[in-house]
């Protein structure tokens, strides 16, 4: 199993550009999550999904959109990139609810908005 994979690893965007961060897991996990991590800080939840077709907002959803058309994929969309969105983005998945099952994290996508 590859686990949780994310693409791209790095990206530089100009203000106002859009992009999609890809996340795929091959563990047949129901739950998937998107976090952002600012320098020297912990992770903050952007969006999460409890299964295909179901998504919900986390702590910091503004400026982002998600979709979950399959169990495996959970892309994160930035429509109008802003400097405040410069961060490292982590995708994670778990088979069940977080408090009964471990969340497995991907390697991250480092995004810079100039």
């Amino acid at each position: 199993n590859a686990g949780v994979t994310q693409t791209p690893k790095f990206r530089i965007l100009k203000i106002g550009q859009s992009m999609t961060l890809q996340c795929t897991q091959d563990m047949n996990h129901n739950y998937m999550y998107w976090y952002r991590q600012d320098p020297g800080m912990g992770l903050k939840l952007i969006y999460y999904s409890v299964g295909a077709g179901i998504t919900d907002k986390g702590e910091v959803p503004n400026g982002y959109n998600v979709s979950r058309s399959t169990t495996e994929d959970f892309p994160l969309r930035l429509e109008l990139a802003a400097p405040s969105q410069t961060s490292v983005y982590f995708c994670a998945s778990s088979y069940n609810r977080g408090y009964t099952d471990t969340q497995y994290f991907g390697p991250g996508t480092r995004l810079t908005v100039l």
Binding site: V4, Y31, Y33, Y35, G40, M41, G42, L43, K44, L45, Y48, V50, G58, E59, F90, A92, R97, G98, Y99, T102, Q103, Y104, F105, G106, P107, G108
Partner: protein
């Protein structure tokens, strides 16, 4: 507001010594806590967890202690090794939300 935070941003220890990383939380309703290790350039890695109905839980070379009276969590690493060098985060989950709330992180630097 409610938060989870760490007392010490950086901890430097000698190889072979025991390490103790501390974490304070403010929400008494939190019922599940997790310690994650994050190496440079990588995603967080689960280390150990503890439910609020427990005071102590042990893993391989790691022990987590929970003091609900003072809302304090600690991670003890025995015989610290260079491979333990990383940033350690505590995180909490409040039952029914399934959302991880992360603390700021402590950098553990192991000196050879």
């Amino acid at each position: 507001g409610e938060s989870v935070g760490l007392h010490l941003p950086t901890l430097s220890v000698q190889e072979g010594d025991n390490s103790i990383i501390n974490c304070a939380y403010s929400n008494s309703a939190s019922d599940y806590f997790i310690w994650y290790k994050q190496e440079s350039g990588k995603g967080p890695q689960f280390i150990i967890d503890i439910r609020s109905n427990m005071d102590k839980r042990q893993g391989q070379r790691v022990t987590v202690l929970l003091n609900k009276t003072v809302k304090h969590l600690s991670l003890q690493i025995a015989a610290t090794q260079p491979g333990d060098s990383a940033v350690y985060f505590c995180a909490e989950i409040r039952d029914a939300t399934n959302k991880l709330i992360f603390g700021t992180g402590t950098l553990l630097a192991v000196q050879p």
